[in-house]
């Protein structure tokens, strides 16, 4: 096995090229719309640091993950890159990215305490910092305030029981074909967001085992499947919602738990007559827990690669993109929410009630478990819960088999952790 793997690595090494010279431009990988917009920020950076050249490569989101991994295998990594913060554990496991604690400590512009704590935490693994948050994503409730008001609900309730009652009221007033909440069945973030709101740890023993039988997860799962079972949310996948905005405008769904990218979309795509009739609010919390409910810490960070011969220059790029002024400009260009609290004093951000909900929610976010296997685990959550939502299976048996699935996925991780522990004393 070793020989074969060594062969693979050798083949990869011979394919290696470029990057060895220290004076070349800093190569920055950025994804999707961000990759397009960051180009507009580069001239200012180059003006401030004469001699620093930045080469931006834009990669579509759908290809980004694969490109990072094949880039690693083929030793064709950039110097600095945008990184979805759920990918950081994987890149750290590969030892592909550089710890940044020392650089942050010495930096005049990157200040840890200016960042939303839950977001910052997504970049810290075993006490080591691997990335600096660039922009943030989290989910909260978008809703048709007029429909809620017509159903006798003046504002979005703050507890789960109130939330559910609001869905029931909206459904009653709307009649058939109308639902309280859109809860796409293929978005693992939906049940997982409810689970972190309920305080579920998701994994236990430092990511060695699944913790889906824990009472916190059970509580969230029960709430989640109940919404489908009782007809408050339609059992639809994203792809079955032909036109979200039209259907939202027609009142088919009164609420949707979604992220900041929909701020712009709702403004553009809902008809002008409805522009005064939609609002956002932080997540309701499970009864007996403090409001607002906790949401998921999403977004992208900036990382520096270990293989880079230009780490100093790469760090300058990170520092520049992290400056509050740059963050504000970035927000103005593409609508991505700034990761730094001080960038939120921008009047257009702070003064808009819909955006301000995000500001409050961002103080209450938590990272998904920081293990490379997380996405694979997340995909299992709905796979297992779906028959429960249809009423075909019981919840307890399902949660037990979910834990069994997840324990099987994490077997390799447990073995590696044990091996590491055994090697440590030497």
């Amino acid at each position: 096995m070793r020989a074969l793997a060594a062969g693979l690595v050798l083949a990869a090494a011979t394919a290696c090229s470029g990057g060895a010279d220290r004076t070349g431009p800093v190569r920055l990988w950025a994804f999707g719309r961000e990759g397009e917009v960051v180009r507009e920020l580069v001239p200012e950076l180059e003006r401030r640091h004469p001699g620093l050249k930045v080469e931006v490569q834009q990669i579509p989101w759908t290809a980004a993950h694969e490109k990072l991994l094949t880039g690693f295998v083929g030793r064709e990594m950039p110097d600095v890159a945008q990184m979805g913060n759920t990918w950081i554990p994987e890149m750290a496991a590969l030892d592909a990215i550089e710890p940044l604690d020392a650089r942050v400590a010495a930096s005049d512009s990157v200040k840890a305490d200016d960042y939303y704590q839950g977001i910052w935490e997504t970049n810290v693994l075993d006490g080591v910092l691997y990335g600096v948050p660039w922009y943030v994503d989290t989910r909260l409730v978008f809703y048709r305030s007029d429909l809620l008001a017509a159903a006798g609900v003046p504002e979005l309730p703050k507890s789960w029981s109130g939330w559910r009652a609001a869905m029931e009221a909206v459904k009653r007033t709307g009649g058939s074909g109308h639902y309280g909440l859109l809860l796409p069945t293929n978005e693992w973030a939906q049940p997982v967001t409810l689970a972190v709101s309920a305080g579920a740890g998701l994994l236990s023993d430092g990511g060695r085992h699944g913790a889906f039988r824990a009472p916190e997860f059970r509580r969230a799962a029960e709430f989640f499947v109940g919404l489908y079972r009782d007809g408050l949310a339609p059992p639809l996948a994203n792809s079955q919602v032909a036109n979200l905005y039209q259907q939202m405008a027609a009142g088919e769904f009164a609420m949707y738990v979604t992220g900041p990218w929909n701020l712009g979309e709702f403004r553009r795509r809902l008809p002008a007559s409805l522009q005064g009739s939609w609002a956002t609010a932080p997540l309701p919390a499970p009864d007996g827990m403090p409001w607002p409910g906790v949401s998921l810490a999403g977004g992208s960070s900036l990382v520096v690669f270990r293989s880079s011969p230009r780490k100093e220059a790469a760090w300058k790029v990170v520092e520049f993109l992290s400056e509050p002024a740059t963050q504000k400009r970035f927000w103005a260009l593409c609508g991505d929410l700034p990761a730094r609290r001080s960038a939120w004093d921008e009047p257009a951000l702070a003064g808009d009630a819909r955006t301000a909900s995000f500001r409050l929610q961002l103080e209450h976010v938590r990272a998904t478990p920081k293990v490379p296997e997380w996405e694979q685990i997340a995909a299992k959550v709905w796979e297992r819960l779906e028959p429960v939502a249809r009423g075909a299976k019981g919840l307890d048996a399902t949660l037990a088999s979910l834990d069994a699935d997840v324990d099987a996925i994490l077997e390799k991780r447990r073995w590696l952790l044990d091996r590491k522990a055994a090697e440590a004393p030497k």
Binding site: M1, R2, L4, A5, A6, L8, V9, T62, H65, E66, L69, F72, V73, E90, A93, L94, D95, A96, T185, N186, L236, A237, S239, Q240, V241, A242, N243, P372, E375, Q376, E383, E386, A408, K412, R413, W415, L416
Partner: protein
């Protein structure tokens, strides 16, 4: 005698020398990679091993055992069989039908139609998929508009788990029937016109002539077309990949074995498990091919 065997040995050596370049290529680019993936399928080579090769363990047949207990694998296998068993005959019948039409003496502009029917085969799948996505659109799609005219309510072709695979079958049949059609046309052209004439004189009708002359004489063409279509359809990948955004959704309804393998390998980086899927798929295709050959040989005799 000795002279003869020495000559034979020399001959054999020369022969070996002549096939050597071909053999070398075959071993380097086919046998070695296949062997390497067989070895990989017996390990748990994964993301961790990409970073640190010592993290790979030999696990024997565990990857295979795990597959057998994975409901998603069975779902993918079921989807693939559905595609082969429904899509295969559909494509072959479409091809044969089109070939018969084109071969008819009364058809004018046969060359033009042949080109038109063949066009989808050479069109890029991604472009085709983009157009078909519009056709399948639940509200604004042409297909649902046509169904609406005869009073059939709109179908959510790609969103509804029950309809997604039939939608893929339909698109694949349209995209692929042209290739087989060309082969059938060639097969039909090879049937001497005199046989049809003789049968006609003996009083055979069109259906009888088709059943007793065209079908038996096309048997070798059928075998070839049947086998290549089956093998190709078992490897179903690009159609669901493009139509479902690489996911095999909704709810794994369009997940094929090859797409499942791709997801295991390049989405989760479980390389060992992906290699095992490749060998299972190989075994399935080999089995299906042998079965089909036996059946068709049997019906010939």
């Amino acid at each position: 005698m000795r002279g003869l065997s020495a000559w034979r040995a020399r001959e054999a050596k020369a022969g070996l020398l002549l096939v050597a370049p071909g053999l070398l290529l075959l071993v380097t680019f086919l046998a070695l990679p296949v062997l390497a993936s067989l070895v990989l399928s017996l390990t748990d080579f994964d993301l961790y091993a990409v970073g640190d090769p010592s993290a790979a363990r030999v696990v024997g047949l565990r990857n295979y055992a795990r597959l057998l207990h994975d409901p998603v694998f069975w779902k993918a296998l079921g989807n693939t069989f559905f595609f082969v068993l429904v899509g295969g005959p559909l494509t072959v019948s479409l091809s044969l039908g089109a070939a018969l039409l084109l071969n008819h003496k009364l058809v004018r502009f046969a060359g033009l139609f042949r080109t038109i029917y063949f066009a989808p085969v050479v069109t890029t799948l991604v472009a085709v998929a983009a157009v078909w996505k519009y056709l399948y659109h639940p509200r604004f799609g042409l297909l649902n508009a046509a169904l609406g005219l005869v009073g059939i309510p709109a179908i959510d072709w790609l969103g509804d788990p029950h309809w997604a695979m039939p939608a893929i079958v339909l698109m694949a049949a349209w995209k692929n029937f042209g290739a087989n059609m060309i082969i059938f046309v060639a097969g039909l052209k090879a049937i001497p016109e005199s046989l049809h004439e003789a049968a006609r004189i003996d009083g055979a009708g069109a259906i009888q002539r088709f059943r007793l002359i065209t079908v038996p004489l096309l048997a070798p063409t059928f075998l070839f077309v049947g086998l290549t279509t089956t093998i190709g359809y078992f490897q179903l990948f690009a159609e669901p990949y493009v139509m479902s955004g690489g996911d095999g959704g909704p709810m794994n309804a369009t997940l094929s074995v090859a797409l499942f393998m791709y997801k295991q390998g390049f989405r989760w980086w479980s390389i060992g498990s992906a290699a095992a899927i490749a060998f299972v798929l190989f075994a399935v295709i080999l089995g299906a091919t042998l079965l089909q050959r036996r059946l068709q040989k049997g019906s010939e005799a």
